[in-house]
């Protein structure tokens, strides 16, 4: 071959390669979920491998996730095809930046979730993708100290406190663990578990007398809590190391303990207070930004994620449960079986009192969480007077509700305008 032919051949080969690569460009799945390396790898190899066309799954922390998304939205064009995030991530966005997905024909089996996904508009802004919740877990060594007559699957807060006190006395060290660390999900405990269980509300009843009782009970529980809890964010670590015997945390953050030593731990529902057994479902969704390069591929990926087989594969990979009706197979990991049973008991309990995720707060979601975290830090860690702190934080909460204009959500009674703090 002559020199020129060789060059022509190389250039055309390169051109073909480049066009081939461009034609089969992966859909960029920009997500805040499945961040740990094992979960991200499982997503890529087990969940997304079956999607024709290829997916580039990129999990990120919330900050970088939002920064790049905002940059692409501002620039008007970008590479992100599909967004994955929690309800809170999407509710902080402008719904106009997300493509309406009601016409896609995929949705979850729960009307509540589908409603939440509309973000206050008439169309679904994201499609519910997977769900989880917070449960309690205990080392079997702690079970012998349960108070007489207490049913592990139907505890009350008083029984839980008595149990923690028994363990404290027996072992000599406080062994209740609470995710009060900087990445811990303590605010969800207060919003979805403590407040619904004691006050049957979240915003309306924030500074009520029932709330004062609730905080007093939590203070009693804190007396038997491992003080290093202020550094705990993933309670599976403390369960495995033995630093905590009775813990409260997100199902995905307890999974490792159940998977490594399934016979040593048991999962059970959160306790009940005078106003019921409060619990909060966590909802993750998938959405398409208006700047997605390949709209058809993105929509195909969204539909793919909601298929039953994909939902089961996601459950194995991330320990987040499906949002569509699926028959769960028998060979699931121990963590899934244990937490699935606890979740079913909790949501099916006769006194179940679900506290929904905050909705309609826009970018004030972080400020809303901070009200509860500050109350915890001042009341429990700082030992300040409960009534004074609640009255003080009530002003901040009122300001947040009026500025965001968010109406009340369950278990608060519905409101016409912004949810009032009574």
């Amino acid at each position: 071959m002559s020199y020129q032919t060789k060059i022509a051949g190389a250039v055309s080969g390169l051109a073909l390669l480049v066009s081939a690569v461009a034609a089969h460009a992966d859909v960029l799945f920009w997500s805040t979920q499945a961040k740990p390396v094992e979960e991200a790898q499982a997503m890529r190899t087990q969940v997304l491998a079956g999607f024709a066309g290829g997916v580039d799954y990129q999990p990120n922390d919330g900050g970088p996730w939002l920064t790049r998304l905002n940059a692409e939205l501002q620039a008007g064009s970008g590479a992100i095809g599909v967004l994955g995030g929690l309800h809170g991530d999407f509710s902080a966005m402008n719904p106009a930046d997300l493509v309406d997905l009601s016409s896609l024909g995929v949705s979850s089996a729960s009307a509540t979730f589908n409603d939440l996904s509309k973000l206050g508009t008439g169309e679904m802004q994201y499609v519910p993708w997977m769900q989880a919740t917070y449960i309690m877990a205990a080392n079997r060594k702690a079970l012998e100290h349960l108070p007489a007559g207490a049913d592990l699957n139907a505890l009350s807060y008083d029984q839980l406190i008595e149990w923690a006190a028994n363990v404290h006395k027996a072992v000599g060290e406080p062994k209740f663990g609470f995710p009060a660390g900087p990445q811990g999900l303590k605010h969800r405990f207060f919003q979805g578990y403590l407040y619904p269980s004691f006050t049957d509300g979240v915003v309306r009843t924030f500074a009520s007398d029932a709330a004062v009782t609730g905080w007093e009970k939590f203070r009693e529980l804190w007396a038997h809590t491992n003080p290093a809890s202020t550094n705990f964010s993933f309670m599976q670590e403390q369960l495995l190391s033995g630093d905590a015997w009775i813990v409260f945390d997100h199902t995905a953050r307890l999974a490792q303990a159940f998977n490594e030593r399934p016979d040593d731990f048991v999962a059970f529902p959160a306790p009940a207070g005078p106003a019921g057994r409060g619990f909060m479902p966590v909802l993750a969704g998938i959405a398409i930004p208006r700047t997605a390069p390949d709209m058809d591929a993105a929509k195909a990926l969204v539909a793919h994620m909601l298929k039953p087989e994909t939902q089961i594969a996601t459950l194995r990979a991330t320990n987040f449960f499906p949002v569509v009706d699926v028959a769960l197979p028998n060979d699931l990991p121990p963590a899934v079986k244990a937490s699935g049973a606890a979740i079913a008991k909790m949501s099916g309990a006769p006194d179940a009192n679900p506290g929904l995720l905050p909705a309609g707060l826009g970018d004030k979601g972080g400020d809303f969480n901070r009200v509860f975290v500050d109350s915890f830090e001042r009341i429990v860690l700082g030992g300040q007077d409960i009534r004074t702190v609640l009255n003080d934080q009530k002003k901040t909460l009122s300001r947040i509700m009026t500025e965001s204009g968010a109406p009340c959500w369950a278990p608060d009674a519905p409101s016409a305008g912004p949810c009032p703090v009574e």
Binding site: D61, A92, G181, P182, N226, T230, N231, D367, R370, D374
Partner: protein, 281 residues
């Protein structure tokens, strides 16, 4: 191209780089801090200063800097003097002492967390030696003093090398003749250190102190790893405002407050450690 313009032309690329990636973002951040709904206002600063954690984080930042920097200065001077005396193994010792410079702040914090946590090395060692019968909780909100000590220790371990390398370079610049003359005149090692090393080290001391103090006010990763939210510092407030509360204006305001403190400290150090005009070194 006359020789007069050549120096300016040579530093033009670096100046452009600094201008684009340093000055321009800084101007944008300053504008964001003073922005209250489109017009100039101080409401971001008001909001930040009114928050109940602000005085605590300001006090913690200043306290940590005041506790850590003098210790590091003394340690770095000691280490630099030792290193310059060595002939064999000097490079190895210098290399080992500057290893903490090569790892990230957060990695250093996590290393010390593995030492101080309840199931960590210190507790294992103490219970192995029989000093305690059950693991102690060193990093709890009940003994904030211990947590402060742990953070100070981790910071000293991590950042002394910053001052060390500058001081080693500075000592290397001092002519040996001064030491020889001092020895001839019967000066003790301590007198030689006080009368020769320290004064001639002034420019290096100035640089090292300014660098270290500015970085000390920006401490974040080590505190976050060891103390979580126990020990709020100004930088952790900036992080929380930007990424948890999505409030860029307040984050920019805290950043400018950190800048103001750093400028004040720098001016003080420049004044105290100034080399008088006309002095020959």
């Amino acid at each position: 191209m006359t020789p007069r313009y050549l120096p300016y032309l040579l530093i033009l690329p670096v100046t452009l780089f600094l201008g684009l990636f340093f000055l321009y973002p800084f101007v944008l951040v300053a504008m964001q801090a003073f922005d209250g709904g489109g017009r100039f206002s101080l409401e971001n600063f008001q909001e930040v200063v009114d928050y109940w954690k602000f005085p605590i984080s300001l006090r913690n930042t200043l306290l940590l800097a005041a506790a850590v920097v003098p210790v590091q200065l003394a340690l770095a001077l000691l280490m630099a003097t030792m290193v310059t005396r060595m002939q064999k193994g000097r490079d190895l010792v210098l290399y080992i002492w500057t290893i903490p410079l090569g790892i990230s702040d957060l990695a250093a914090g996590i290393i010390w967390l593995a030492i101080f946590e309840q199931s960590g090395f210190l507790n294992s060692m103490m219970s192995g030696l029989g000093l305690i019968d059950r693991p102690m909780n060193l990093l709890s909100y009940q003994n904030l003093g211990l947590a402060f000590l742990a953070i100070a220790l981790a910071e000293i371990w991590r950042a002394t090398a910053i001052m060390l390398v500058i001081l080693v370079a500075g000592i290397g610049l001092i002519p040996k003749e001064y030491y020889e003359a001092a020895e001839v005149f019967g000066a003790s090692p301590w007198q030689r250190f006080i009368r020769i090393t320290l004064p001639l080290l002034r420019p290096s001391l100035q640089t090292a102190l300014i660098l270290r103090v500015i970085l000390a006010f920006e401490v974040f990763a080590v505190v976050a790893a060891l103390g979580g939210t126990l020990f709020p510092v100004l930088m952790s407030q900036t992080y929380a405002y930007q990424f948890e509360l999505l409030n860029g204006g307040a984050a920019a305001a805290v950043a400018l407050i950190i800048l103001a403190i750093s400028i004040a400290a720098t001016l003080v150090i420049l004044r105290v450690l100034r080399v008088p005009k006309g002095a020959t070194i």
